[in-house]
């Protein structure tokens, strides 16, 4: 028996809603359009491949049923990327950021692809999260690798899944401010003490979120274990957040011709919001 067309249409509608919902701030951000102008073909290829890996990871650990085969995961990821490209092209055309009459193919492609990568992650999240009818009943018994950490006995896949979801969360939440000039301004004007404060606050936020969301109830049973897991999860969250921040900043050319300190400070500045994404955002999208 095949899936009814109506069901697939509902799926796509959710995907489109999610794509727009999570990435609209980026579609309306100047720096994203500029990045589309100056990105080289090689950078765009790298961006597409990395986004595809992220989609694979997200679909594997959260987006789809845990029993989905890698083939299905790969097929869905391609679909989401295609939908993302179409949405991105449509919106950019609507807000007149692309104009086929006056622009070369390189500019059209650059802008469309950069925006589309953000949109396709939104599509993927929308498809799995905006499912109002089934998510209530479907999520708990399902017990996907992402959610089984609630039982206090996370296994290896669980940690990997957590790391992947942390990256997705960091990209979705941190990505919205990453291309803006404000990150550079903050890091240029911050003194070392401010940067230190930002790093400490990131870690504290991460600890609080991880503690109150993942380990509520498990505290009395395994006090030592919990301490270890909180430390581990916080470290993973913060490292993923910093790594993601560094990659995005590098992609937008923020590391060119700056001193090591400014580059480092930018990572920490973006890291505050990326950590929120990696800890709280991860719980929202799983």
């Amino acid at each position: 028996m095949k899936r009814p067309v109506y069901e697939s249409l509902k799926d796509y509608a959710r995907g489109i809603a999610g794509g727009l919902l999570f990435s609209f701030p980026l579609l309306y951000t100047m720096e994203m359009w500029w990045a589309g102008l100056s990105a080289t073909s090689l950078q765009l290829i790298i961006l597409i491949l990395i986004t595809y890996l992220l989609l694979l990871g997200y679909n594997r650990f959260a987006g789809m049923r845990p029993d989905a085969t890698w083939g299905e995961v790969a097929i869905d990821s391609v679909e989401e990327m295609g939908i993302g490209l179409v949405i991105s092209f449509g919106v950019l055309l609507m807000i007149r950021r692309i104009d086929p009459a006056a622009m070369g193919l390189t500019e059209l492609l650059g802008k469309t692809i950069i925006e589309a990568m953000a949109v396709s992650i939104g599509v993927s999240i929308g498809k799995s999260q905006l499912d109002s009818e089934e998510s209530g009943g479907g999520k708990q018994p399902d017990g996907g690798p992402g959610s089984s950490s609630d039982n206090g006995k996370p296994d290896k896949t669980d940690k990997l899944g957590m790391a992947v979801l942390a990256i997705c969360g960091a990209v979705v939440v941190g990505g919205n401010v990453a291309p803006t000039e404000e990150i550079l301004v903050i890091s240029l004007e911050a003194k070392p003490i401010h940067v230190l404060m930002m790093a400490v606050v990131s870690l504290l936020l991460s600890i609080v979120i991880v503690y109150f969301s993942d380990f509520r109830g498990a505290t009395e049973k395994f006090p030592k274990d919990v301490l270890y897991h909180i430390t581990f999860d916080t470290c993973v969250c913060y490292l993923m957040a910093l790594g993601t921040s560094a990659f995005i900043l590098w992609f937008f050319g923020r590391f060119e011709d700056v001193s090591f300190w400014v580059a480092f400070a930018q990572c920490i500045v973006l890291g505050v919001i990326a950590t929120l994404g990696a800890s709280a955002g991860r719980l929202l999208i799983k």
Partner: protein, 141 residues
């Protein structure tokens, strides 16, 4: 794909690949789109040569009720790189002397594209011997 209750997901698992025509169509088109883009970008990367911006200016009188001495200016970039902060200068020459100079700035002139704007004079260009427009400077993004 959405998460579904257990009984449903077992059912689905047995027919994991049973996609309907719509899903196959979306997948097919998406795959085609993504692969085309990758191939095109790959080709561009392979054939890419170091390039610089190459700009030229086109202009024509375009008077309006409030600015009778207005010129419509379009800046074309035929080079292989984007130019940033493009300064365009228009000069009215009369008898070997500068009668009036006007400037226009364009934030971005991407490769193989055109950007447009207007330059306004206070004196009548008809009194001048010649009108000259040129790109003065631009910087690397």
């Amino acid at each position: 794909m959405s998460k579904e209750p257990d009984n449903q997901s077992e059912q689905d698992n047995q027919q994991g690949d049973q996609k309907n025509w719509l899903e196959w169509a979306v997948f097919g088109l998406s795959l085609l789109l993504v692969l085309t883009i990758l191939v095109y970008l790959g080709y561009k990367t392979y054939t890419q040569k170091p390039a610089t911006p190459d700009l030229y200016v086109e202009y024509q009188p375009d008077p309006s009720p409030h600015s009778p001495f207005r010129y419509h200016v379009s800046v074309h970039n035929t080079g292989g790189k984007t130019a940033e902060v493009v300064q365009v200068e228009m000069v009215l020459w009369q008898g070997g002397e500068e009668m009036e100079k006007a400037e226009m700035q364009i934030d971005f002139a991407p490769q193989k594209s055109k950007r447009e704007g207007w330059v306004l004079f206070s004196k009548d260009p008809a009194l001048a011997d010649s009108v000259v427009a040129r790109v003065v400077s631009y910087k690397q993004p």
